[in-house]
């Protein structure tokens, strides 16, 4: 805070132009590679689609009208948000203890375990998804274990369960990284202080550790949610075409049906979902602070 006050006069004096000059390249890249394509995409959603994937001249709201009035798309939207929220919650549940444990290790072990935690990112999500297909398939490892325990395994592949299991594991490294960033600020003496004031270990967790890790937790949830909404390879493969989410539908419309205006409109819908997620994140962050 005080640092910002100290540096501001200098920035006003001459830093303004320097700052702009330094920002210009990234601004340019963003305009060219993000803003322009998004505007193009939005424009495309207002064009008509003809047979064989042709795009008609002239603007029309037909795509949007059918999109917003057809309950099929509303179901996909709600289904996607719900599944992604569930995946986010499960990812958080699986990642929090791991991140907490890693953050408490000594410096050397912590660095090693951090590498271990994020090492799945070194393997492509496609490869990991195929791995899950082998593990979850009817003759796979997981149903085998369940059978060995004398129970009938439920279907784990080519349905929503498979998608949720796969995406939860695939998104865990992002959640763990976000949580670790938040835990970094957690001072162990705060827990000591709470202990000497009479708080039992679980109370210390509930009243001190959890509230102070909320910023990292929220960030991790936002990141995981956004990635869950936008992932399509894993749902496509583990869902076996039976699980329809926004991202897989966009893929089908763009690549299979060749209805680019509809794919564009659905993409804009995904952006709206992201916008809403960001807004919720912003509000919650303010509450936490």
């Amino acid at each position: 805070m005080s640092a910002a006050l100290l540096t501001r006069p200098r920035a006003d004096w001459r830093g303004g132009t320097v700052l702009m000059a330094l920002l210009a390249p990234i601004l340019l890249v963003n305009v060219l590679t993000f803003l322009a394509p998004v505007i193009n995409l939005a424009m495309l959603s207002f064009r008509g689609s003809g047979p064989g994937g042709s795009i008609q001249e002239g603007l029309t709201t037909a795509t949007w009208t059918s999109l917003l009035t057809d309950s099929f798309y509303w179901e996909i939207l709600l289904g996607t948000v719900w599944t992604s929220l569930l995946i986010t919650f499960l990812t958080l549940l699986c990642s929090y203890p791991v991140a907490l444990w890693v953050s408490r290790l000594g410096a050397r072990w912590r660095n090693l375990m951090m590498v271990v935690c994020i090492s799945p990112l070194l393997v492509s999500a496609v490869v990991r998804t195929y791995g899950w297909m082998i593990l979850l398939g009817d003759q796979g490892f997981v149903p085998g274990v369940i059978r060995a325990m004398g129970m009938t395994p439920p279907r784990l592949l080519f349905n929503e369960t498979g998608v949720i299991i796969g995406l939860t594991e695939i998104l865990m490294p992002y959640m763990i990284l976000s949580l670790l960033a938040g835990f970094g600020k957690l001072d162990r003496t705060l827990e000591d202080a709470a202990g000497t004031l009479g708080a039992r270990p679980f109370t210390v967790f509930r009243r001190i550790v959890l509230p102070l890790s909320l910023p990292g937790l929220l960030l991790g949830c936002l990141l995981t949610f956004v990635l869950a909404v936008s992932s399509f390879i894993t749902p496509k493969l583990l869902g076996g075409g039976r699980v329809v989410l926004l991202a897989t539908e966009i893929y089908d419309q763009a690549i299979v049906t060749l209805n680019w205006p509809l794919a564009s409109a659905l993409s804009i819908l995904v952006l709206v979902v992201f916008g809403a997620a960001l807004a919720v994140y912003g509000q919650l962050s303010k509450l936490v602070d």
Binding site: T189, A193, G195, G198
Partner: protein, 383 residues
């Protein structure tokens, strides 16, 4: 030095008096406390001491001497390797921190950043299931004690260091702990605030009559407010005594050096009591076998300096030695002289107010001091 009683403490039991057995009951007992980490040499070993109810003990020592580890063992944050901790006769060695009922003030305050000042102070009461109305009243009383009622609804980050420190103190005291533990509570404050806060801590400790242990590496701080001081070195308690006794009669050269500046002289005991140091023969208070190699220590401000032009000061029994001023350093409230005395260099400290005159480099002088101010230790004990 800081042995003079702070004015605020006037009227209270004289803390310079040696602890009178039976006057106050023993409240905290440490019995042969030891802490080891792995195969390393023990961080703390063979530490035994007793604190009376209402006594303020300073644990003093250089960093890494084990004083903070000792404090953390008392609070239960660090498990002991061996030994016992008794509070009012009850063995608490095996109890976790949350069942020990001790108030701890941490070096970096450790205030909960997501709670207001009032919530921070109320935390301990909440854990003790004190009713909301009573808790509110006690929180305000505790904040009143440290004069921070007006800031009850602020977050810790909006407070200055001194204010945070007072919140930490209020939070530790509001639970009316059986023992107050302070871990270098003043080291993050600036010099002026530090003096203020240490007096405030002493005032409150006296008013509540609470038994307290105060860890510090600053001897002035410890001398100023503690009833007794324990000097620690490499995990062991070197000496435990009142500030005055510690300053005047340190039992080891380490303690002597730690609680104030010292001149070091090396000599050999002669037949008949004197000690030969270079050419000179000095008188000392103690006695030891002739021929023993000795380390002599004299406090710089106990040496009186007079110009050699005037007659040699006639003082029966005093050590009087000629010397030459080599360096003068003005430090505000005192003048530090380095005086060549034979082959030795003596540091002499004189007050700028009461000093009869000041000396310049090259002046020939006489140094005079009492044998009582000449501490003797067997050579080799200072390592």
């Amino acid at each position: 030095m800081a042995i003079a009683r702070a004015p605020h403490a006037a009227g209270e039991a004289p803390r310079d008096a040696a602890p009178a057995a039976g006057l106050n009951s023993v409240h905290l007992t440490l019995e042969a406390l030891e802490k080891r980490y792995g195969n390393l040499p023990p961080s703390v070993s063979a530490l035994s001491l007793q604190l009376r109810q209402g006594e303020l003990l300073g644990l003093l020592g250089p960093s890494g001497c084990g004083k903070t580890t000792t404090l953390r063992m008392i609070s239960g944050l660090v498990p002991v390797t061996a030994g016992r901790i008794l509070v009012a006769g009850r063995d608490v060695t095996a109890l976790p921190p949350y069942r020990r009922d001790m108030g701890v003030v941490f070096q970096a305050y450790a205030l909960f950043p997501h709670m207001t000042v009032a919530e921070n102070v109320a935390f301990g009461l909440e854990m003790r299931k004190v009713s909301r109305t009573e808790a509110k009243e006690r929180v305000m009383r505790a904040l009143g004690m440290v004069r921070l009622e007006a800031l009850a609804d602020r977050k810790p980050r909006e407070l200055s260091g001194g204010q945070q420190q007072r919140v930490a103190l209020a939070r530790a005291l509001v639970i009316e702990p059986s023992i107050l533990l302070l871990d270098e509570p003043l080291s993050n404050l600036d010099a002026k605030l530090r003096d203020e806060m240490r007096n405030e801590i002493r005032d409150i400790q006296q008013r509540l009559g609470i038994t307290a242990v105060f860890v510090t590496h600053d001897q002035v701080e410890a001398m100023a407010i503690c009833d007794r001081i324990g000097v620690m070195r490499a995990g062991r308690l070197e000496q435990i005594a009142t500030p005055l006794e510690m300053y005047e009669r340190p039992t080891t050269p380490f303690v002597a050096d730690f609680v104030g500046r010292m001149n070091h002289l090396r000599g050999t005991r002669l037949e008949g009591g004197g000690v030969r140091v270079g050419e000179a023969v000095l008188a000392t208070a103690g006695t030891s076998p002739a021929g023993e190699a000795l380390l002599l220590m004299v406090r710089p401000h106990r040496i009186q300096m007079t110009p050699a032009a005037t007659a040699q000061p006639e003082a029966a029994g005093r050590n009087v030695q000629p010397g030459t001023v080599r360096r003068v350093t003005f430090v505000g409230d005192a003048l530090h002289y380095e005086v060549a005395m034979g082959a030795e260099t003596m540091l002499v400290e004189s007050s700028t107010v009461s000093g009869p005159q000041s000396f310049a480099v090259g002046d020939a002088v006489f140094l005079a001091w009492s044998p009582d101010d000449t501490l003797t230790f067997p050579a080799g004990t200072e390592a």
